[in-house]
């Protein structure tokens, strides 16, 4: 397989890999590195690529695992910066109001979701995969995917209702 052939295979879903990585790692640079890394791993295993019947799903699983490893090592190194540590509470509240209408606020809410829920929302509501595919990518069963998704959607809606009411008042 030549490089251009490989890139043709990878191009349709490389953005999805990037977006999933960004959902988990938050920073754009880290997500870019992760995407690059996943693609390189795929390229290394190019001989086996034909054996996988669904390269896209396989790549998404790889991305998930890669990002989890990244997050774990980050936690181990204790490099996580918790913004609320040094933020004035009043300022944070003001910001909330400012963000109220914007999409950034949804991003914030998504950031606070547990990893599993983040991924399910990402794969379903943004990437529009069907449940069967998501279940395969995340190594869960379909019911578990639905339950996780429902929990995430409810959390998002609750937070939205709260800020919406706050804005109205």
């Amino acid at each position: 397989m030549t490089q251009s052939e490989f890139i043709n295979i990878v191009t349709p879903f490389k953005d999805k890999v990037f977006r999933l990585a960004k959902r988990l790692l938050v920073s754009t640079e880290e997500a870019e590195d992760a995407t690059q890394e996943v693609l390189i791993k795929l390229w290394k295993n190019k001989k086996k690529i034909k054996e996988y019947n669904n390269i896209e799903a396989f790549s998404m699983t790889m991305t998930k695992n890669f990002c989890f490893d990244k997050l774990k090592s980050k936690q181990a190194q204790n490099l996580k910066i918790v913004h609320s540590n040094y933020q004035d509470h009043n300022v944070a509240l003001q910001k909330q109001v400012e963000l109220n209408d914007s999409l950034d606020w949804i991003g914030k809410i998504m950031e606070d979701l547990p990893e599993q829920q983040k991924m399910v929302v990402q794969l379903r509501d943004i990437e529009q995969y069907d449940f069967k595919e998501i279940a395969k990518m995340l190594d869960m069963n379909e019911t578990a995917v639905r339950v996780t998704l429902s929990r995430a959607r409810k959390t998002i809606r609750e937070k939205l209702t709260k800020t919406h009411n706050y804005g109205v008042k």
Binding site: K14, V17, D125, Q128, R146, R157, H164
Partner: protein, 161 residues
Amino acid sequence: MLNNIEHLLEKYENGETSLKEEAQLKNYFSQETVAPHLEMYKPMFQYFIVNKKEQFTKDISLLEVNATKKKFNFKWLSIAAVAVLMLSIFVFNPTQSQEDLITEADRADYENAKAALALVSQHLNKATAQVSYLKVINTAGTQVDYLKEINDPMGRIFNNN
């Protein structure tokens, strides 16, 4: 229509909507005006639509494969180097090679030297035996020790009293 959307939202929250129904919801919420009590859902669905548009803009470089390959080779190279080093120690073992170099002539020289040294040590032993009577001088020395008491006649006088 509104009824339908509300019904869909409920299904949506329970994770029971199909992709088609979710597309319908997205469609509805990307309108300019939505029912006021559903306003809060608008940014959420917009967020989903906008986020799908984000792209991986960096060039895919597969060159790094070579870099990692090089690293891999380097690792094996060091392992090979260690193996060669250890092998060389076994092959050119100095103790073994010395044994190999001993010839018959060397062996004869060795025997001669051994005999000569044995002779020397024999004579030396004899000599030390002869010199050993010098020990007697030491005993004589102790016998002469009592002469010290002459230096202390007063002590003797008091002792007798």
